[in-house]
């Protein structure tokens, strides 16, 4: 059963006009579910919650892009930051499938270094 961030909904969920990011803590794995347009407007929210997730010191950080309808370069920059930035602490897994999210990651060759799973359950299943 997923456990919602103890800081509560108002802090754990960050919404922008077009997208949402929610942080869940699943038995030591921090899951950031992103929905809507992950662009310049939402990127700061993703960064904010990724940094909060890092403070939970999870074994693994999963960023789930399944609900993303538009992945702009500002969003991809945050994936790189979560993967190898100064505040990155846990191994990152990215859930991306389909051309909306996978295509931009291929064009920028971020697929070379990001560990990508087709579904959240597969990202969580791997030990």
């Amino acid at each position: 059963m997923a456990e919602t961030d103890a800081t509560g909904k108002s802090l754990g969920d960050a919404a922008s006009s077009a997208g949402t990011v929610a942080l869940e803590n699943r038995n030591g794995t921090a899951v950031l579910r992103v929905g809507g347009a992950l662009d310049l407007a939402l990127a700061p929210k993703l960064r904010q919650l990724a940094e909060r997730a890092a403070r939970l010191e999870p074994a693994v950080l999963v960023i789930d892009l399944t609900g993303v309808t538009f992945l702009a370069s500002a969003g991809m920059a945050e994936l790189v930051r979560a993967h190898r930035g100064r505040t990155a602490s846990a191994p990152l897994r990215v859930v991306a499938t389909g051309r909306i999210t996978l295509r931009p990651l291929q064009l920028t060759r971020l697929t070379d270094e990001l560990v990508i799973y087709p579904s959240l359950s597969e990202a969580l299943a791997t030990g």
Partner: protein, 524 residues
């Protein structure tokens, strides 16, 4: 003076339940929910409840002979009995209520004050959450007109255009705009002067009796057909940062003496919030213009390129705040070759524009050293990562050599370029060659023939993708539009038309593009 606590009050009321001989009778206490207490008691502290139906509702199945409802400290209860009682309980209820009448009045007053503050606070939150001036002024005018109970309200506000000239616009509420449009803008007549000078609020029970009224030629009083103003209230809107007058609220009512001190207080409150919102909007606009100006000022003058026709476009984001990251460059190299650069810095505003300027300069430097494309991007990537921390810059870099008719290119995470050779379909080149600058370390380069008659198109993502149009589809549409574009006599208008079609005239991201056509004449 301290007010009696609820338990004291409840005890006193229970002791009032006595029989004909003055001996206490058994009473029951039924707590009242806040909603029930409000319904039964209204603003009273104690009330004798005699309504049979209500009693049957509150205490079902009992033959109630007397009951008194009590409220205090946010609690409520109904004291009741089924025994015969003397006439005292209701008398006690009246006595308590009379004694606490001033309290009930105070409670009423405080509740109403709280409602006023609530309304003002939520209006303030709404107003200051926006950066769109048109929306702010209309919302503020509507809210203030409603809050003051005015027959109609108007908000005149000053803006400064791109040439630094000040001009005045207005919004109205409560009457159709046509009712206003026949009249000239309020000038600094004696009535309006205090508001536009920021001298203070004007509140008049009957402005037509005001000595300042009607002194402005040519109307001499109320212009014919003017909205019938009798009660008048006007409040200045002053910038909290500069103190300058941003505009003024004007409220009118056809009847006299409609505006109270509270209306004045509310109007001043909304004016203060409006001032903050307008200030924010103006600062935001200024930042946006600055980023746009900065980006434009850093755009290159395209040098003469013998044998090549070069068309460029830079369109800053039409909506939102995303101006500032895209750029293009065309560089004549010492060897006679020409370098073409297109790129996109993630971020927006002044920060992105300045990073862009530095990345552009860095690329120019390495380009002029005639380093091969893969080396140019490798060096710039190392520099970018070091200079700007965690940065993310996509860039397509291509060099055309007229002497051997080749195009050599490398691509740092940017969209592929479009190459159209004579009598061939458009093809994409350089797709997914390497990671963005600041992220990647290796940037393999490719070479292809770029013969006379060939076209090369470099572009940024604003042209092909948006929240409502995914990249794959956008690129397909762009490719589909290329043959028609190439067939047109004049590339400039053809590109403007295609950009418009692809973005529906509302690109919410920057767009930069370069179109190179190899004319095939001797490059001298």
């Amino acid at each position: 003076m301290t007010t009696p606590g609820f338990d004291d009050l409840l005890g006193a009321v229970r002791r009032a339940f006595v029989d004909g001989s003055g001996a206490p009778v058994a009473t029951g206490v039924r707590p009242l929910e806040p909603a029930e207490a409000r319904a039964v008691l209204g603003d009273h502290v104690t009330v004798a409840v005699t309504d049979r139906a209500l009693l049957a509702d509150l205490v079902p199945g009992r033959e109630i002979t007397a009951a008194i409802a009590v409220a205090g400290d946010g609690r409520g209860a109904l004291v009741h009995t089924t025994e015969r009682v003397g006439g005292t309980p209701s008398a006690v209820a009246e006595a308590v209520d009379a004694a606490t009448a001033h309290l009930a009045g105070a409670v009423r007053r405080l509740r109403s004050e709280a409602a006023v503050l609530d309304a003002l606070h939520s209006t303030g939150r709404e107003l200051t959450a926006h950066l769109d001036i048109d929306r702010i002024v209309q919302d503020a005018t509507d809210a203030a007109t409603q809050a003051t109970g005015a027959g109609f309200g108007a908000f005149f506000y000053n803006l400064v255009d791109e040439f630094g000239e000040s001009y005045t616009l207005y919004t109205i509420s409560g009457v159709p705009r046509e009712a206003f449009e026949r009249f000239p803008m309020p000038r600094n007549t004696e009535v309006f002067a205090p508001t536009f000078d920021g001298a203070g609020t004007v509140r008049s029970a009957d402005i037509t009796q005001d000595p300042r009224f009607g002194k402005n030629a040519p109307y001499q009083g109320m212009p014919e057909g003017h909205l019938p103003v009798c009660s008048y209230l006007a409040v200045s809107v002053l910038s909290p940062t500069t103190g300058e007058v941003l505009g003024g609220f004007f409220f009118g009512h056809p009847e006299p003496d409609r505006f109270t001190a509270r209306h004045e207080y509310l109007a001043e409150g909304i004016a203060a919030y409006s001032a903050i919102a307008l200030d924010n909007a103006r600062l935001y606009e200024r930042e946006r213009n600055l980023a746009s100006e900065l980006s434009r000022s850093m755009l290159p003058v395209v040098p003469a390129t013998p044998g090549l026709d070069v068309l460029t476009r830079y369109l800053p984001a039409a909506t939102g705040s995303k101006v500032g990251g895209d750029w293009f460059d065309v560089i004549r190299l010492p060897s006679g070759a020409t370098a073409f650069v297109i790129g996109d810095v993630v971020g927006h505003g002044v920060t992105a524009a300045t990073v862009m300027g530095q990345v552009r300069t860095a690329i120019r430097c390495y380009a002029l050293l005639e380093l091969p494309p893969s080396e140019v991007l490798r060096n710039v990537s190392a520099l970018t990562g070091g200079l700007f921390g965690e940065s993310f810059v996509t860039c397509f870099y291509a060099v055309h050599r007229a002497d051997d008719g080749t195009l050599t290119y490398a691509n740092a995470g940017h969209l592929p370029a479009i190459l159209v050779r004579p009598d061939a379909e458009p093809e994409e080149i350089g797709e997914a060659l390497a990671q963005p600058l600041g992220v990647g370390a290796e940037f393999p380069q490719r070479s292809t023939a770029f013969p006379p008659g060939a076209d090369l198109v470099l572009y940024t993502d604003g042209l092909v993708e948006s929240r409502t149009r995914d990249l794959t589809l956008g690129v397909e549409w762009l490719l589909a539009g290329i043959p028609g574009l190439l067939a047109s006599a004049d590339l400039g208008p053809a590109w403007d038309k295609l950009v418009d079609e692809l973005t529906h005239g509302r690109h919410d991201d920057d767009i930069a593009l370069i179109h190179v056509r190899n004319r095939g004449e001797d490059g001298a």
